[in-house]
Symmetry: C2
Subunit: 192 residues, 2 copies
DNA sequence: AATAACTGAATGAACGTTCAATCATTCTAA
DNA sequence: TTAGAATGATTGAACGTTCATTCAGTTATT
Protein backbone atom coordinates (compact mmCIF):
# COMPACT_ATOMS: atom_id res chain seq x y z
CA UNK A 1 0.00 0.00 0.00
CA UNK A 2 1.72 3.15 -1.17
CA UNK A 3 -0.15 5.77 0.83
CA UNK A 4 -3.35 6.62 2.64
CA UNK A 5 -5.32 7.56 -0.45
CA UNK A 6 -4.56 4.20 -2.03
CA UNK A 7 -5.74 2.45 1.10
CA UNK A 8 -9.02 4.34 1.22
CA UNK A 9 -9.50 3.59 -2.45
CA UNK A 10 -8.87 -0.12 -2.04
CA UNK A 11 -11.43 -0.24 0.78
CA UNK A 12 -13.96 1.47 -1.47
CA UNK A 13 -13.21 -0.82 -4.38
CA UNK A 14 -13.49 -3.92 -2.24
CA UNK A 15 -16.86 -2.79 -0.88
CA UNK A 16 -18.05 -1.81 -4.36
CA UNK A 17 -17.31 -5.28 -5.68
CA UNK A 18 -19.07 -6.96 -2.74
CA UNK A 19 -22.20 -4.84 -3.07
CA UNK A 20 -22.28 -5.59 -6.79
CA UNK A 21 -22.02 -9.32 -6.16
CA UNK A 22 -24.08 -9.77 -2.99
CA UNK A 23 -26.11 -6.61 -2.42
CA UNK A 24 -25.93 -4.27 0.55
CA UNK A 25 -26.81 -7.03 2.99
CA UNK A 26 -23.99 -9.20 1.66
CA UNK A 27 -20.98 -6.98 2.24
CA UNK A 28 -19.97 -7.35 5.89
CA UNK A 29 -17.23 -5.05 7.09
CA UNK A 30 -15.09 -8.10 7.87
CA UNK A 31 -15.20 -9.20 4.21
CA UNK A 32 -14.60 -5.68 2.91
CA UNK A 33 -11.51 -5.54 5.12
CA UNK A 34 -10.30 -8.96 4.00
CA UNK A 35 -10.62 -8.20 0.27
CA UNK A 36 -9.02 -4.80 0.75
CA UNK A 37 -6.11 -6.36 2.59
CA UNK A 38 -6.62 -4.36 5.80
CA UNK A 39 -7.91 -5.07 9.27
CA UNK A 40 -11.55 -4.42 10.09
CA UNK A 41 -10.64 -1.61 12.46
CA UNK A 42 -8.75 0.28 9.76
CA UNK A 43 -11.94 0.96 7.87
CA UNK A 44 -13.01 3.17 10.77
CA UNK A 45 -10.00 5.42 10.25
CA UNK A 46 -11.46 6.38 6.88
CA UNK A 47 -15.19 6.08 7.44
CA UNK A 48 -17.31 6.91 10.46
CA UNK A 49 -19.48 3.84 10.04
CA UNK A 50 -20.80 1.49 7.42
CA UNK A 51 -23.38 3.88 6.04
CA UNK A 52 -20.64 6.45 5.59
CA UNK A 53 -18.69 3.83 3.63
CA UNK A 54 -21.64 3.14 1.32
CA UNK A 55 -22.10 6.86 0.72
CA UNK A 56 -18.33 7.04 0.14
CA UNK A 57 -18.64 4.45 -2.62
CA UNK A 58 -21.45 6.45 -4.17
CA UNK A 59 -19.40 9.63 -4.21
CA UNK A 60 -16.38 7.83 -5.59
CA UNK A 61 -18.49 6.25 -8.30
CA UNK A 62 -20.12 9.55 -9.24
CA UNK A 63 -16.65 11.08 -9.56
CA UNK A 64 -15.49 8.25 -11.84
CA UNK A 65 -18.50 8.65 -14.08
CA UNK A 66 -18.01 12.40 -14.32
CA UNK A 67 -14.34 12.06 -15.17
CA UNK A 68 -15.03 9.53 -17.90
CA UNK A 69 -17.89 11.45 -19.52
CA UNK A 70 -16.56 14.98 -19.16
CA UNK A 71 -13.08 14.12 -20.45
CA UNK A 72 -14.69 12.78 -23.60
CA UNK A 73 -17.13 15.66 -24.11
CA UNK A 74 -16.22 18.14 -26.83
CA UNK A 75 -18.17 21.32 -26.15
CA UNK A 76 -17.28 22.72 -29.57
CA UNK A 77 -19.39 20.10 -31.36
CA UNK A 78 -23.06 20.39 -32.30
CA UNK A 79 -25.17 19.44 -29.28
CA UNK A 80 -26.70 16.51 -31.13
CA UNK A 81 -23.25 14.98 -31.54
CA UNK A 82 -22.42 15.69 -27.92
CA UNK A 83 -25.60 13.90 -26.87
CA UNK A 84 -24.75 10.75 -28.79
CA UNK A 85 -21.16 10.89 -27.48
CA UNK A 86 -22.57 11.18 -23.97
CA UNK A 87 -24.78 8.16 -24.54
CA UNK A 88 -22.03 6.06 -26.12
CA UNK A 89 -19.41 6.94 -23.52
CA UNK A 90 -21.73 6.31 -20.60
CA UNK A 91 -22.66 2.91 -22.09
CA UNK A 92 -19.00 2.12 -22.67
CA UNK A 93 -18.20 3.09 -19.10
CA UNK A 94 -20.91 0.89 -17.59
CA UNK A 95 -19.81 -2.05 -19.73
CA UNK A 96 -16.20 -1.52 -18.75
CA UNK A 97 -17.02 -1.32 -15.03
CA UNK A 98 -19.96 -3.65 -14.37
CA UNK A 99 -19.50 -3.35 -10.60
CA UNK A 100 -20.15 0.39 -10.84
CA UNK A 101 -23.19 -0.21 -13.00
CA UNK A 102 -24.51 -2.80 -10.56
CA UNK A 103 -23.80 -0.71 -7.49
CA UNK A 104 -25.31 2.44 -8.96
CA UNK A 105 -28.48 0.65 -10.03
CA UNK A 106 -28.89 -0.72 -6.52
CA UNK A 107 -27.96 2.47 -4.74
CA UNK A 108 -30.25 4.81 -6.66
CA UNK A 109 -33.31 2.71 -5.89
CA UNK A 110 -32.39 2.01 -2.27
CA UNK A 111 -33.23 3.91 0.90
CA UNK A 112 -29.50 4.72 1.16
CA UNK A 113 -30.22 7.29 -1.55
CA UNK A 114 -31.97 9.49 0.99
CA UNK A 115 -33.32 12.97 0.43
CA UNK A 116 -30.29 14.23 2.35
CA UNK A 117 -27.94 12.58 -0.14
CA UNK A 118 -29.96 13.85 -3.08
CA UNK A 119 -29.78 17.41 -1.80
CA UNK A 120 -26.03 17.30 -1.21
CA UNK A 121 -24.05 19.04 -3.95
CA UNK A 122 -22.87 16.40 -6.41
CA UNK A 123 -20.42 17.46 -9.08
CA UNK A 124 -21.47 14.71 -11.47
CA UNK A 125 -25.13 15.71 -11.26
CA UNK A 126 -24.18 19.33 -11.62
CA UNK A 127 -22.10 18.55 -14.67
CA UNK A 128 -24.96 16.58 -16.23
CA UNK A 129 -27.45 19.36 -15.53
CA UNK A 130 -25.15 21.93 -17.10
CA UNK A 131 -24.68 19.62 -20.05
CA UNK A 132 -28.40 19.47 -20.77
CA UNK A 133 -28.84 23.12 -19.87
CA UNK A 134 -26.32 24.07 -22.57
CA UNK A 135 -28.32 21.99 -25.05
CA UNK A 136 -31.34 24.12 -24.21
CA UNK A 137 -29.40 27.38 -24.32
CA UNK A 138 -28.25 26.54 -27.82
CA UNK A 139 -31.80 25.70 -28.84
CA UNK A 140 -30.90 22.10 -29.66
CA UNK A 141 -33.31 20.54 -27.19
CA UNK A 142 -36.68 21.59 -25.89
CA UNK A 143 -36.71 23.77 -22.82
CA UNK A 144 -37.51 21.52 -19.90
CA UNK A 145 -36.12 20.62 -16.47
CA UNK A 146 -32.49 19.53 -16.93
CA UNK A 147 -32.63 17.46 -13.75
CA UNK A 148 -35.57 15.46 -15.03
CA UNK A 149 -33.94 15.18 -18.43
CA UNK A 150 -30.70 13.78 -17.07
CA UNK A 151 -32.53 11.25 -14.90
CA UNK A 152 -34.58 10.11 -17.87
CA UNK A 153 -31.55 9.76 -20.13
CA UNK A 154 -29.37 8.11 -17.50
CA UNK A 155 -32.11 5.64 -16.57
CA UNK A 156 -32.45 4.56 -20.17
CA UNK A 157 -28.71 4.16 -20.58
CA UNK A 158 -28.49 2.03 -17.42
CA UNK A 159 -31.49 0.02 -18.51
CA UNK A 160 -30.11 -0.57 -22.00
CA UNK A 161 -26.81 -1.79 -20.59
CA UNK A 162 -28.67 -4.13 -18.23
CA UNK A 163 -30.73 -5.58 -21.09
CA UNK A 164 -27.62 -6.04 -23.20
CA UNK A 165 -25.92 -7.86 -20.35
CA UNK A 166 -28.82 -10.15 -19.46
CA UNK A 167 -29.78 -11.01 -23.00
CA UNK A 168 -26.37 -11.17 -24.64
CA UNK A 169 -26.90 -14.56 -26.25
CA UNK A 170 -30.61 -14.25 -26.90
CA UNK A 171 -30.27 -10.84 -28.52
CA UNK A 172 -27.93 -12.17 -31.18
CA UNK A 173 -30.81 -14.22 -32.58
CA UNK A 174 -33.31 -11.36 -32.81
CA UNK A 175 -33.19 -8.19 -34.78
CA UNK A 176 -33.37 -5.94 -31.77
CA UNK A 177 -31.17 -2.93 -32.14
CA UNK A 178 -30.61 -1.34 -28.80
CA UNK A 179 -28.64 1.49 -30.38
CA UNK A 180 -31.99 2.74 -31.59
CA UNK A 181 -33.03 3.57 -28.07
CA UNK A 182 -30.67 6.53 -28.02
CA UNK A 183 -32.21 7.85 -31.26
CA UNK A 184 -35.65 7.29 -29.85
CA UNK A 185 -34.85 9.38 -26.77
CA UNK A 186 -33.12 12.03 -28.86
CA UNK A 187 -36.19 12.33 -31.08
CA UNK A 188 -38.24 12.90 -27.97
CA UNK A 189 -36.12 15.63 -26.42
CA UNK A 190 -34.77 17.59 -29.40
CA UNK A 191 -36.22 20.95 -30.30
CA UNK A 192 -38.88 20.82 -33.03
CA UNK B 1 -57.37 -13.16 11.01
CA UNK B 2 -60.04 -14.88 8.95
CA UNK B 3 -58.06 -17.74 7.45
CA UNK B 4 -54.65 -18.94 6.37
CA UNK B 5 -54.56 -17.02 3.11
CA UNK B 6 -55.27 -13.77 4.93
CA UNK B 7 -52.45 -14.50 7.37
CA UNK B 8 -49.95 -15.23 4.64
CA UNK B 9 -51.05 -12.08 2.86
CA UNK B 10 -50.65 -9.91 5.92
CA UNK B 11 -47.13 -11.25 6.45
CA UNK B 12 -46.28 -10.39 2.84
CA UNK B 13 -47.80 -6.95 3.10
CA UNK B 14 -45.98 -6.21 6.33
CA UNK B 15 -42.65 -7.25 4.81
CA UNK B 16 -43.38 -5.31 1.62
CA UNK B 17 -43.95 -2.13 3.59
CA UNK B 18 -40.75 -2.60 5.60
CA UNK B 19 -38.59 -3.23 2.52
CA UNK B 20 -40.09 -0.15 0.90
CA UNK B 21 -39.29 1.98 3.93
CA UNK B 22 -35.96 0.54 5.08
CA UNK B 23 -34.59 -1.64 2.30
CA UNK B 24 -33.84 -5.34 2.47
CA UNK B 25 -31.41 -4.89 5.33
CA UNK B 26 -34.04 -3.08 7.38
CA UNK B 27 -36.84 -5.62 7.55
CA UNK B 28 -36.04 -8.07 10.36
CA UNK B 29 -38.34 -11.05 10.71
CA UNK B 30 -39.24 -9.90 14.22
CA UNK B 31 -40.56 -6.59 12.83
CA UNK B 32 -42.35 -8.29 9.96
CA UNK B 33 -44.07 -10.52 12.49
CA UNK B 34 -44.98 -7.62 14.78
CA UNK B 35 -46.51 -5.51 11.99
CA UNK B 36 -48.36 -8.53 10.65
CA UNK B 37 -49.77 -9.31 14.08
CA UNK B 38 -48.29 -12.80 14.31
CA UNK B 39 -45.44 -14.44 16.19
CA UNK B 40 -42.03 -14.70 14.53
CA UNK B 41 -42.28 -18.47 14.36
CA UNK B 42 -45.54 -18.33 12.39
CA UNK B 43 -43.74 -16.86 9.41
CA UNK B 44 -41.94 -20.19 9.05
CA UNK B 45 -45.24 -21.99 8.57
CA UNK B 46 -45.67 -20.08 5.33
CA UNK B 47 -42.08 -19.49 4.18
CA UNK B 48 -39.03 -21.73 4.35
CA UNK B 49 -36.72 -18.86 5.23
CA UNK B 50 -36.32 -15.14 4.75
CA UNK B 51 -35.14 -15.34 1.15
CA UNK B 52 -38.23 -17.39 0.38
CA UNK B 53 -40.29 -14.61 1.94
CA UNK B 54 -38.64 -11.94 -0.22
CA UNK B 55 -39.27 -14.04 -3.32
CA UNK B 56 -42.81 -14.54 -2.05
CA UNK B 57 -43.32 -10.78 -1.97
CA UNK B 58 -41.99 -10.55 -5.51
CA UNK B 59 -44.41 -13.18 -6.76
CA UNK B 60 -47.31 -11.58 -4.91
CA UNK B 61 -46.42 -8.19 -6.34
CA UNK B 62 -46.11 -9.55 -9.88
CA UNK B 63 -49.54 -11.11 -9.48
CA UNK B 64 -51.04 -7.81 -8.29
CA UNK B 65 -49.56 -5.95 -11.23
CA UNK B 66 -50.84 -8.51 -13.69
CA UNK B 67 -54.35 -8.44 -12.23
CA UNK B 68 -54.50 -4.67 -12.39
CA UNK B 69 -53.17 -4.33 -15.93
CA UNK B 70 -54.88 -7.34 -17.50
CA UNK B 71 -58.29 -6.56 -16.03
CA UNK B 72 -58.11 -3.14 -17.65
CA UNK B 73 -56.81 -4.32 -21.02
CA UNK B 74 -59.37 -4.41 -23.82
CA UNK B 75 -58.01 -6.71 -26.50
CA UNK B 76 -60.65 -5.54 -28.95
CA UNK B 77 -59.15 -2.07 -29.19
CA UNK B 78 -56.49 -0.88 -31.61
CA UNK B 79 -53.07 -1.84 -30.25
CA UNK B 80 -52.02 1.79 -30.00
CA UNK B 81 -54.85 2.45 -27.58
CA UNK B 82 -54.03 -0.68 -25.65
CA UNK B 83 -50.43 0.49 -25.32
CA UNK B 84 -51.44 3.85 -23.85
CA UNK B 85 -53.93 2.14 -21.54
CA UNK B 86 -51.15 -0.18 -20.41
CA UNK B 87 -48.90 2.79 -19.71
CA UNK B 88 -51.57 4.78 -17.89
CA UNK B 89 -52.81 1.87 -15.80
CA UNK B 90 -49.33 0.79 -14.80
CA UNK B 91 -48.54 4.38 -13.75
CA UNK B 92 -51.80 4.59 -11.85
CA UNK B 93 -51.04 1.31 -10.11
CA UNK B 94 -47.56 2.38 -9.00
CA UNK B 95 -48.90 5.68 -7.71
CA UNK B 96 -51.67 3.90 -5.86
CA UNK B 97 -49.29 1.40 -4.26
CA UNK B 98 -45.99 3.20 -3.67
CA UNK B 99 -44.69 0.31 -1.52
CA UNK B 100 -44.98 -2.01 -4.52
CA UNK B 101 -43.24 0.50 -6.74
CA UNK B 102 -40.44 0.93 -4.20
CA UNK B 103 -40.07 -2.78 -3.56
CA UNK B 104 -40.07 -3.69 -7.24
CA UNK B 105 -37.46 -1.04 -8.08
CA UNK B 106 -35.22 -2.39 -5.36
CA UNK B 107 -35.83 -6.06 -6.10
CA UNK B 108 -35.23 -5.92 -9.84
CA UNK B 109 -31.80 -4.36 -9.39
CA UNK B 110 -30.78 -6.52 -6.45
CA UNK B 111 -28.99 -9.87 -6.33
CA UNK B 112 -32.27 -11.36 -5.02
CA UNK B 113 -33.40 -11.18 -8.63
CA UNK B 114 -31.14 -14.08 -9.53
CA UNK B 115 -30.95 -15.87 -12.84
CA UNK B 116 -32.91 -18.68 -11.21
CA UNK B 117 -35.76 -16.30 -10.40
CA UNK B 118 -35.63 -14.77 -13.86
CA UNK B 119 -35.91 -18.18 -15.50
CA UNK B 120 -38.85 -19.26 -13.34
CA UNK B 121 -42.19 -19.03 -15.15
CA UNK B 122 -43.80 -15.73 -14.21
CA UNK B 123 -47.35 -15.18 -15.29
CA UNK B 124 -47.00 -11.39 -15.28
CA UNK B 125 -43.96 -11.49 -17.53
CA UNK B 126 -45.69 -14.01 -19.75
CA UNK B 127 -48.73 -11.78 -19.96
CA UNK B 128 -46.60 -8.75 -20.86
CA UNK B 129 -44.69 -10.69 -23.50
CA UNK B 130 -47.92 -11.90 -25.05
CA UNK B 131 -49.23 -8.35 -24.94
CA UNK B 132 -46.33 -6.99 -26.98
CA UNK B 133 -46.28 -10.09 -29.18
CA UNK B 134 -49.88 -9.43 -30.14
CA UNK B 135 -48.88 -5.88 -31.07
CA UNK B 136 -46.34 -7.32 -33.46
CA UNK B 137 -48.72 -9.93 -34.82
CA UNK B 138 -51.18 -7.20 -35.67
CA UNK B 139 -48.43 -5.19 -37.37
CA UNK B 140 -48.85 -2.28 -34.95
CA UNK B 141 -45.32 -2.38 -33.60
CA UNK B 142 -42.02 -3.32 -35.15
CA UNK B 143 -40.99 -6.95 -34.91
CA UNK B 144 -38.49 -7.20 -32.10
CA UNK B 145 -37.91 -9.18 -28.92
CA UNK B 146 -41.04 -8.81 -26.75
CA UNK B 147 -39.02 -9.51 -23.60
CA UNK B 148 -36.67 -6.62 -24.31
CA UNK B 149 -39.58 -4.45 -25.29
CA UNK B 150 -41.47 -5.06 -22.06
CA UNK B 151 -38.37 -4.39 -19.95
CA UNK B 152 -37.76 -1.14 -21.81
CA UNK B 153 -41.33 0.03 -21.45
CA UNK B 154 -41.66 -1.05 -17.82
CA UNK B 155 -38.38 0.61 -16.87
CA UNK B 156 -39.53 3.89 -18.33
CA UNK B 157 -42.87 3.69 -16.56
CA UNK B 158 -41.16 3.00 -13.21
CA UNK B 159 -38.67 5.77 -13.86
CA UNK B 160 -41.36 8.28 -14.79
CA UNK B 161 -43.31 7.51 -11.63
CA UNK B 162 -40.14 7.92 -9.57
CA UNK B 163 -39.40 11.30 -11.14
CA UNK B 164 -42.97 12.41 -10.57
CA UNK B 165 -42.74 11.41 -6.93
CA UNK B 166 -39.36 12.99 -6.22
CA UNK B 167 -40.01 16.23 -8.06
CA UNK B 168 -43.65 16.73 -7.26
CA UNK B 169 -43.31 20.34 -6.10
CA UNK B 170 -40.47 21.31 -8.40
CA UNK B 171 -42.21 19.95 -11.49
CA UNK B 172 -45.16 22.22 -11.03
CA UNK B 173 -42.93 25.20 -11.76
CA UNK B 174 -41.46 23.85 -14.99
CA UNK B 175 -43.11 22.96 -18.23
CA UNK B 176 -41.99 19.34 -18.16
CA UNK B 177 -44.68 17.06 -19.38
CA UNK B 178 -43.93 13.53 -18.32
CA UNK B 179 -46.93 12.24 -20.23
CA UNK B 180 -44.87 12.86 -23.32
CA UNK B 181 -42.50 10.08 -22.40
CA UNK B 182 -45.13 7.50 -23.30
CA UNK B 183 -45.58 9.09 -26.73
CA UNK B 184 -41.84 9.22 -27.16
CA UNK B 185 -41.53 5.48 -26.47
CA UNK B 186 -44.51 4.70 -28.65
CA UNK B 187 -42.98 6.61 -31.53
CA UNK B 188 -39.88 4.51 -31.12
CA UNK B 189 -41.53 1.10 -31.12
CA UNK B 190 -44.49 1.50 -33.50
CA UNK B 191 -44.33 0.04 -37.00
CA UNK B 192 -43.28 2.52 -39.68
C1' DA C 1 -58.60 -37.81 19.99
C1' DA C 2 -55.71 -36.40 16.44
C1' DT C 3 -53.83 -33.01 13.68
C1' DA C 4 -52.38 -28.69 12.54
C1' DA C 5 -51.42 -23.91 13.57
C1' DC C 6 -49.43 -20.81 16.58
C1' DT C 7 -46.53 -18.79 20.19
C1' DG C 8 -42.43 -16.46 21.90
C1' DA C 9 -38.47 -17.43 24.64
C1' DA C 10 -34.17 -19.59 23.60
C1' DT C 11 -30.18 -20.34 20.55
C1' DG C 12 -26.22 -19.54 18.15
C1' DA C 13 -24.26 -17.33 14.32
C1' DA C 14 -23.11 -13.00 12.23
C1' DC C 15 -22.61 -8.45 12.41
C1' DG C 16 -20.85 -3.49 13.26
C1' DT C 17 -18.01 -1.33 16.22
C1' DT C 18 -14.46 -0.58 19.89
C1' DC C 19 -10.03 -0.44 21.92
C1' DA C 20 -5.71 -1.83 24.11
C1' DA C 21 -1.65 -3.05 22.08
C1' DT C 22 1.64 -2.75 18.27
C1' DC C 23 3.99 -0.68 14.57
C1' DA C 24 5.53 3.23 11.48
C1' DT C 25 6.55 7.81 10.85
C1' DT C 26 7.55 12.47 12.17
C1' DC C 27 9.26 15.74 15.22
C1' DT C 28 12.33 17.61 19.03
C1' DA C 29 16.32 18.74 21.13
C1' DA C 30 20.89 18.04 22.48
C1' DT D 1 23.12 13.36 13.48
C1' DT D 2 20.44 10.84 16.26
C1' DA D 3 18.08 9.21 20.60
C1' DG D 4 13.76 8.97 21.85
C1' DA D 5 9.37 11.21 22.48
C1' DA D 6 5.14 12.07 20.26
C1' DT D 7 1.82 11.30 16.93
C1' DG D 8 -0.89 8.71 14.10
C1' DA D 9 -2.01 4.48 11.61
C1' DT D 10 -2.98 -0.37 12.04
C1' DT D 11 -4.26 -4.59 14.02
C1' DG D 12 -7.53 -8.21 15.36
C1' DA D 13 -9.53 -10.13 19.42
C1' DA D 14 -13.37 -8.94 22.18
C1' DC D 15 -17.95 -6.83 22.96
C1' DG D 16 -22.65 -6.11 22.76
C1' DT D 17 -26.29 -6.23 19.73
C1' DT D 18 -29.19 -7.93 16.29
C1' DC D 19 -30.76 -11.26 13.55
C1' DA D 20 -32.84 -15.61 11.43
C1' DT D 21 -34.26 -19.76 12.92
C1' DT D 22 -35.80 -23.48 16.16
C1' DC D 23 -38.79 -25.94 19.19
C1' DA D 24 -41.27 -27.32 23.37
C1' DG D 25 -45.42 -26.07 24.93
C1' DT D 26 -50.15 -24.21 23.95
C1' DT D 27 -54.29 -23.33 21.49
C1' DA D 28 -57.47 -24.07 17.68
C1' DT D 29 -59.55 -27.07 14.22
C1' DT D 30 -61.02 -31.35 12.29
Amino acid sequence: MENLIDKKQSIIESALELVYENGFHGCPVSQVAKNAGVAAGTIYTYFENKEDLIVGIYEHVAQQIMNYISERDDASLEFENRFFDYWRNFTEFYEKYPAIHGFYDQFLNSPFNSEEIQNKPNIWHEWAHKFFQSGMDKGAIRVTNPVVLSILVNTNIASTVRIKKNFKTKLARTNVNLEEISHLIWAGIKAD
